[in-house]
């Protein structure tokens, strides 16, 4: 193989892949906002509808992002807060927190009444737990309701870990994932409470 061929190969591949990468970056930039909206609408809205009861606005449009910490590389981690309002007053504040279950990460949407500091309801948004066992964290209505109407100062760990939550039998890891997510969420809420200005 001559040097000329070699250079041509390297050059062609470099140009083609750079053009492809540039094109993709452009498409990604254009579609990003729309994709965010769609993901919120189709993944989070069902959970939001489940936990928010008393409101007359569109919580998806009334959302705000707040820096809630830093990741391992020192970049800001943002959490999206959805505000449910009635007659202009904020009645609940909903946001997502995560824990790890048996089959992967579990996302939990938590609604908190900012005035009383009370957890109104929680609902699972994303999960990949074993169907029929771990998936009961979604299907079993009694489990998520244990978190409702408790003050944010309550201990949301499982009873086995000294908390107030009864795990679903046969799905301890999944239950613990949810309770970790709620505990983290409540902690996060208490840290950023002042920044929310409610």
């Amino acid at each position: 193989m001559s040097l000329r061929e070699l250079i041509q190969m390297v050059l062609v591949l470099t140009i083609v892949t750079s053009v492809c990468a540039g094109g993709l970056a452009a498409v990604k930039l254009v579609t990003k906002e729309q994709i965010d909206y769609q993901q919120i609408k189709f993944i989070k809205e069902p959970a939001l509808k489940k936990i928010l009861t008393d409101y007359d606005n569109d919580p998806i449009s009334d959302r705000l992002q707040i820096v809630t910490g830093k990741d391992a590389r020192g970049r800001d981690v943002k959490t999206t807060f959805f505000l449910a309002k009635k007659g202009g007053d904020v009645t609940s504040l909903a946001f997502e927190a995560g824990g790890s279950g048996y089959g992967g990460p579990i996302g939990v949407m938590i609604a908190i009444d900012p005035k009383g500091g009370i957890v109104q309801a929680v609902a699972v948004t994303t999960q990949s737990e074993t169907p029929g066992l771990g998936s009961k964290i979604v299907d079993d209505p009694d489990f998520p309701s244990q978190f409702s109407k408790k003050p944010v100062s309550a201990n949301f760990n499982l009873a086995a870990a000294g908390g107030e939550i009864q795990a679903i039998s046969g799905a301890t890891v999944s239950s613990s994932g949810v309770s970790t997510a709620v505990s983290r969420g409540v902690e996060l809420y208490q840290n950023v409470k002042s920044q929310l200005g409610l």
């Binding site: 190969m9 591949l13 083609v16 492809c20 094109g23 498409v27 729309q34 769609q38």
Partner: protein, 203 residues
Amino acid sequence: MAARIVNEFTKGFWKEIAPLRFALGICPSLAVSTKVESALGMGFAVVFVLCMSNVLISAVRNLVPDKVRIAVFISIIATGVVIVELVMQAYFYPLFLVLGIWIPLIVVNCIVLGRAEAFARKNTIPLSLSDGMGMGLGFTLSLVVISSIREILGSGTWLGMLVMPEAYPGFGFLLRPPGAFVIFGLILGIMNVISARIEKKTA
């Protein structure tokens, strides 16, 4: 020239219809053919990727050294696929959720790379475009045929509309993977019988 373009276009529908003649790309055709709606979504995604990759590959066919051609083809195809994925995610989110992993897997769909390798790298842009269009629509057609049979007999609906009597219980077997193979095999057999008849007549 015009006749050739038409010819390259129409061959994708019967003579060289990819999944049924060459058994290329049957993996997605079996997986997403439980509903006509997802079959159509998948089909049009493949049409777009095929047209785009065929045109671009044909455009650069004289510049790319033979030794790196596969890498170049795959880069171009993968770009097209990611564009489809992003656009689908942005504007057809429910469809994106249904098709899921099958969208990124178009990259390794044999039809797309096959047409690049067998056709686009040796032919002009208009011919490659018509070839890609024909092959893609042929793929869509096979998917729609398979999924129509599966959806009508399996769940009694077509494109979500009820077509069978209300009391029809649904033939659940067809909606599961083995049902896909059975339907696929039956269609293959019927096509071979018809082709043999046609050949006999013309011979």
